[in-house]
């Protein structure tokens, strides 16, 4: 199903490259993306709307993103941008 994954991460060069690389490797297309830094520029939040077929893949993807050194947290959201209740 189409879902939104939200990643909070350090705002440094290359971090997005690592994240999108993890999606590319799994042949997951990014259908839309929203990325913004925090006012102090220390952190950034990225939301990707993607399609993940299986529940097992969904959990694994979350965990491989979460273990990136620069990633602080990962949450699946609903596929509706208007709802932002992060869930695990």
């Amino acid at each position: 199903m189409h879902e939104i994954i939200e990643c909070k991460m350090k705002n440094r060069v290359g971090v997005l490259n690592r994240l999108t690389g993890l999606l590319t490797r799994r042949n997951i297309n990014i259908e839309s993306a929203l990325i913004a830094s925090t006012p102090d520029n220390q952190l950034a939040v990225a939301k990707f709307r993607i399609y993940v077929a299986q529940a097992q893949e969904r959990e694994h993807l979350k965990r491989v993103i979460a273990k990136q050194i620069d990633v602080l947290s990962v949450n699946w959201c609903t596929d509706d941008f208007t709802k932002n209740s992060g869930t695990n």
Partner: protein
């Protein structure tokens, strides 16, 4: 042979230390004794500091060799292996080794030279975007733009390499940063954000459930993977399994986790594992996996793996839990802490005998022992490995390349201690063996180091023989020569109707003369007297290259065909 690092007095007092000097100083603070490297244009400032500070750099003959040697060093000791390579081709030549370290969770810090900051992105001479190239095969990578950040970045890289699940880290060092003066060194405020994720608290409730289930199990089985070695948890594992009488299967990279002659040890599991190990996977009613990632060479058919078992999985890396096998009891934890907990929190010390189960395992072992046909007219590779086992009393550090010889070494060498096998498990990198043996010998010189290598793999990194000559390393190199890419040929014979496409060498270099050209003594074994020749080789405290012509069509058995479940083995009597 290790020089002292603290020779900064060689610098004139009015010299300003450069970024490179700071780099070496920081490495010294991290306890680095030597690096493996190869110079080039972008690392001229770094190698100038190496020269001025008499820093120990093992000069390899190809950058791939530098990384594999650092892997061998790290695998043999648990310390972080450090590599210096130049920009562009120097860095891309290092990629195979970095990927190998990523898949086998080997801690490395690899410094790649880079063109000066002003030239980056302008297709400068020997410029590549190494950050993008290495992103998928590193735990983390950095490019340093300001010399004042250098110490903090190095400290972070060293912490990252060994935190949680170990792995390789790349630091890309632009040439100007390496040569910049550090007169305005670290003002205490750096851009590097230093925060390694803290280990979570042990999931004691889940461990308790595992313990309960284990005690109820009639046919318990422990799968001990590389994570047990990486966590230095071998004493804890041995205590745990002996306390509760649990039989143990190892993976390729965790051989030695129990001694080969331990009655609870079933051997290596998986594609070329022992009969009893693979049958145990099939029959067990509780499987406790500690630190193995259920690789497809182990769990050859994930859907049908351990079909009768409740499965527990303890791993330091949460992303491994449920990745391949759905587990009822997932625990993210350091293997040593989990094992300590499981042993010390036992509610009952009543030793479970599991008599029938252990008898079944013994019967399987006796009914289908690991064996091979002997033939006095030929030198059998399995016999060579067994003989080396006897000559070295099962205590040598065994380094392998990749292919049939690797599997025979895993099957027939009597491993007895952790960090004893150094092999490319995940990536399966031909060419790994020779440089890795160099790293292993430099790391633990008091141990005999034996390299088993095929006639294909040795040709991929053969240039590193010159390093063995230069540093007078006592490494026994044993080429098991079947004049073919034997493992690929084996698959062609079994699954491609013997169409041996591009796997039979029509000609080969004379390996005996080749060794001679590199100043290394060499000998070819003859079927009549090979045991005595081998004994003579091992009686001497010097390197030697030994070539054994083995039967060209020898196969590795048992074998599970790809996709088949573990209990379906070919080549079992």
């Amino acid at each position: 042979m290790l020089a002292e690092h603290n020779k900064k007095d060689q610098l004139k007092e009015d010299d300003l230390a450069t970024g490179s000097d700071v780099l070496l100083e920081t490495l010294g603070q991290q306890g680095v004794e030597l690096v493996f490297g190869y110079p080039g244009g972008a690392v001229l400032p770094l190698y100038d500091a190496v020269y001025r500070q008499s820093f120990d750099n093992i000069l390899v003959r190809h950058e791939q060799g530098a990384v594999h040697a650092a892997e061998g060093y790290a695998k043999a000791t648990g310390k972080i292996g450090v590599v210096f390579v130049t920009s562009g081709p120097g860095a891309t030549n290092a990629i195979t080794g970095i990927a190998d370290a990523m898949l086998d969770s080997i801690p490395l810090v690899v410094f790649t030279g880079q063109v000066g900051c002003a030239a980056i992105g302008k297709d400068a001479f020997q410029e590549v975007d190494i950050l993008s190239i290495t992103a998928p095969v590193t735990k983390q990578n950095y490019q340093v733009h300001d010399v004042k950040n250098l110490p903090k970045v190095i400290e972070e890289a060293f912490a990252v390499a060994v935190s949680g699940r170990s792995g390789p880290v790349v630091i890309d060092l632009p040439k100007n940063v390496a040569s910049d003066s550090t007169s305005d060194k670290d003002d205490g405020k750096t851009d590097a954000l230093y925060s390694i994720q803290q280990e979570e608290k042990l999931d004691e409730a889940m461990l308790s459930s595992i313990h309960e289930a284990l005690l109820q199990a009639k046919k318990p089985l422990v799968l001990a993977g590389g994570g047990v070695i990486a966590a230095d948890a071998v004493p804890e594992l041995r205590e745990f399994v002996h306390e509760f009488n649990f039989p143990v299967v190892s993976t390729l990279v965790s051989l030695g986790v129990l001694p080969a002659n331990d009655s609870l040890f079933l051997g290596m599991g998986g594609m070329h594992g022992t009969y009893q190990a693979n049958m145990a996977f099939y029959e067990c009613d509780f499987l406790l996996n500690i630190g193995s990632r259920f690789d497809d060479r182990l769990a050859t058919n994930a859907a049908e793996f351990a079909p009768n078992a409740r499965i527990a999985h303890i791993d330091i890396d949460e992303s491994e839990l449920g990745k391949v096998i759905t587990t009822e009891f997932p625990v993210r934890a350091d293997a040593r802490k989990a094992l300590d907990w499981l042993t010390s929190n036992a509610k009952t010390r009543t030793r479970q005998e599991h008599k029938e189960w252990l008898q079944q395992l013994t019967d399987w072992r006796q009914q289908h022992p690991q064996n091979y046909e002997t033939n006095e007219k030929q030198i059998k590779p399995q016999a060579v490995i067994e003989e080396v086992g006897r000559l070295t009393a099962g205590d040598a550090t065994i380094v392998t390349d990749v292919g049939q010889h690797q599997m025979w070494a895993a099957q027939y060498y009597p491993f007895k201690r952790p960090r004893q096998i150094i092999t490319s498990g995940g990536l399966g990198t031909m060419g790994f063996g020779l440089p890795a043996a160099i790293g292993a010998k430099l790391a633990v010189p008091e141990k005999e180091v034996v390299l088993f290598v095929g006639d294909g793999g040795i040709q991929m990194t053969v240039e590193e023989l010159d390093v063995i000559r230069e540093y007078k390393l006592n490494i026994k190199i044993i080429i098991l020569n079947n004049k073919a890419l034997g493992m690929v040929r084996q698959w062609q014979d079994l699954f491609y109707e013997k169409r041996r496409s591009q796997t039979i060498f029509s000609g080969q270099p004379n390996f005996i003369k080749l060794a001679h050209a590199y100043g290394i003594k060499s000998v070819k074994l003859s079927p009549k007297s090979w045991r005595k020749t081998l004994a003579d080789v091992f009686a001497k405290n010097e390197s030697a290259l030994v070539e054994a012509d083995i039967p060209e069509l020898e196969q590795v058995y048992p074998m599970i065909a790809p996709g088949q479940p573990n209990q379906v083995m070919l080549g079992v009597d």
